[in-house]
């Protein structure tokens, strides 16, 4: 009986440990010296593994939205708002989501693999023994780098997505270029941009913390590292979609939609 209870409660324990780890990272954030070099290296590394895939994902994303929304809007007879709908969808949802997938899939898996390999080779133990806290030395720069890159990627997805939508709307659906551009401001507003960036920031944070937690708790040799990477990606995806839902709901509640 007690073993069943223990098994049922195990995920709660894991969630608690993950949260505690997040708090540790938060506390180490303000501890000096800040590892500038590691931060820049990691930011560059994460950017280099995510930029091209993100751009490649953003184009079809924008296109699908443009086609879908464009088709729908045409039936309502409101073609002039296609641009606006496309901007809203890309900036508010598609941008952060595409960013999240890439940050988790490319950036997070790299972080989990790196820290996991260090863990099983006892490098992290060695570091602690040398009197250096691996959370401050390795995790904090990675988390910050991930957040920074996520915000930049989000910007890129928005631009590439909207541009892709424009191309498809104008060329394939015979939309009017002028109307597409002019309608941008009809429904979309500045806070839409902010929420997109906030989401990207939060997603970067979650992806990096989950990946670092899983990596630093890898056990059982090389297979353990593989498992850690796999779990970190799956957990991040789940968390990101839930968090996206929550953030979107809150945003739609507190920011009134613009009435064109």
């Amino acid at each position: 009986m007690s073993s069943t209870t223990a098994r049922v409660l195990a995920p709660v324990g894991t969630a608690g440990k993950l949260f505690a780890f997040g708090l540790d990272v938060g506390r180490s954030l303000f501890r000096r010296p800040f590892q500038m070099r590691e931060f820049i290296q990691q930011a560059w590394f994460i950017a280099s593994v995510t930029i091209i895939p993100t751009a490649l994902v953003a184009i079809p994303f924008g296109a699908v939205i443009a086609l879908q929304v464009g088709g729908l809007i045409k039936q309502f007879g409101a073609q002039s708002f296609t641009g606006s709908a496309s901007v809203l969808a890309v900036v508010q949802q598609a941008g952060p989501i595409a960013t999240a997938l890439l940050i988790a899939g490319a950036g997070g898996s790299a972080i989990a693999a790196d820290l996991g390999a260090r863990k099983i080779r006892e490098e992290l133990d060695a570091m602690m023994v040398l009197g250096i806290d691996p959370i401050q030395r390795l995790v904090v720069p990675r988390v910050l780098a991930c957040m920074l890159v996520a915000v930049f990627l989000n910007g890129m997805v928005s631009v590439v997505g909207v541009a892709g939508g424009y191309v498809f709307n104008v060329i394939l659906q015979d939309g009017t270029p002028g109307a597409y551009l002019a309608s941008f401001t009809a429904l979309a507003q500045l806070p839409d941009l902010w929420i997109g960036m906030v989401k990207a920031l939060v997603f970067g944070l979650i992806a990096a913390i989950v990946a670092a937690y899983k990596g630093m708790n890898a056990a059982g040799g090389p297979k353990g590292v593989g498992d850690a990477v796999n779990e970190s990606v799956v957990i991040t995806f789940l968390l990101l979609f839930v968090v996206n839902f929550v953030l979107s709901t809150i945003y739609l509640q507190i920011v009134p939609p613009k009435t064109g």
Partner: protein, 316 residues
């Protein structure tokens, strides 16, 4: 000058599995101690407990008045600066070359200039015989070299306590002898407290001042080298002389049937106790005791042929 490490009633289990219970010993300041034990008896866990990487369930580990088992994270990071640790595989940082690895603790903890760091790093690299390999990455060198590089890194902050996890695993006998000699020379030079975890009986017979034996989830015996090497205790005797007759079996302990079958068998006579290794410059270490002193003081007759100079008897 090394410091004492006082371990009292240390107990650790992982889940339901007990690792060891009630381990009590003192590593005397400046002396070389060895922790022995059959594979899988938690020797490495013991070593990790000493540096606070593993929290014991009960007991205390007191170093300079601080109890590692219960102190705060901050105190722990502070006390760890007294330690040098050599991990089993060297635990070098894979992304840095050997020079940066060895320089790492200096760059993190001291405000030394790069030229001072260079002098210290080169001195330690020379000590472990790795001059010329500074620019290699840990992945590009052999296990033995990684181990020696790990030793250089452990030494760079002039530790008071040096913990060494299986220095001889994966080394050939010649390199093992060299590394044993290096430990003795180092002890003479820096007077740190040494704890070596190993199961290589040949090293154990000649290197340490004190020997401890972990067996069957407890500390079977801990004391001066001559005490254990002349001991009649079956476990100690079996292990130190690498025999099949005795209480230790292939998996864990032997079962009753097997022990009963062995009952009539006599244990082979104790081999002679060899001389302890001396520093290569011939100047005795501070903690060194004259050969046979413990046996004389405690009225123990050492096995015949003990304490003969090298070459006079067959090697044990």
């Amino acid at each position: 000058m090394g410091v004492d490490v006082e371990v009292t009633n240390l107990t650790k289990s992982f889940g339901k599995q007990l690792i060891w219970k009630g381990v009590t010993l003192t590593l005397p300041a400046g002396e070389v101690s060895v922790m022995l034990g059959p594979s899988g008896t938690g020797k490495s866990v013991f070593l990790k407990a000493l540096i606070g990487l593993v929290k014991p369930d009960e007991g205390s580990i007191v170093i300079e008045g601080t109890d590692i088992a219960s102190c705060s994270e901050k105190e722990l990071y502070e006390i760890r600066k007294l330690f040098g640790v050599l991990f089993q595989d060297g635990a070098m940082f894979g992304s840095m070359n050997l020079y940066d690895n060895v320089a790492f603790p200096l760059r993190e903890h001291t405000k030394k200039s790069e030229s001072e760091i260079r002098d210290i790093v080169m001195e330690k690299m020379d000590l472990v015989g790795l001059l010329g390999a500074e620019m290699k990455l840990p992945g590009e060198i052999s296990g033995g070299m990684r181990k020696r590089a790990g030793l250089a890194r452990a030494l760079v902050l002039d530790p008071e306590i040096l913990l060494i996890d299986e220095p001889d695993s994966g080394l050939d006998p010649v390199r093992t002898s060299f590394i044993n000699q290096l430990f003795i020379d180092l002890n003479a030079q820096i007077d740190a407290t040494f704890l070596i975890v190993t199961h290589d009986v040949n090293s154990v017979r000649v290197v340490p001042d004190n020997i401890g034996l972990l067996y069957h989830k407890h500390l079977a015996m801990y004391g001066p080298r001559e005490m254990l090497l002349s001991s009649d205790e079956p476990v100690v005797r079996q292990f130190l002389n690498a025999q099949t007759v005795g209480p230790i079996g292939m998996s864990e302990e032997k079962d009753a049937d097997q022990l009963a079958a062995e009952k009539g068998m006599d244990l082979p006579p104790l081999p002679p106790i060899p001389l302890q290794l001396e520093p290569s410059n011939g100047i005795p270490r501070r903690s060194q005791r004259p050969p046979g002193e413990w046996c004389r003081q405690n009225g123990v007759t050492p096995p015949p042929g003990s304490f003969q100079p090298f070459g006079a008897t067959a090697m044990g």
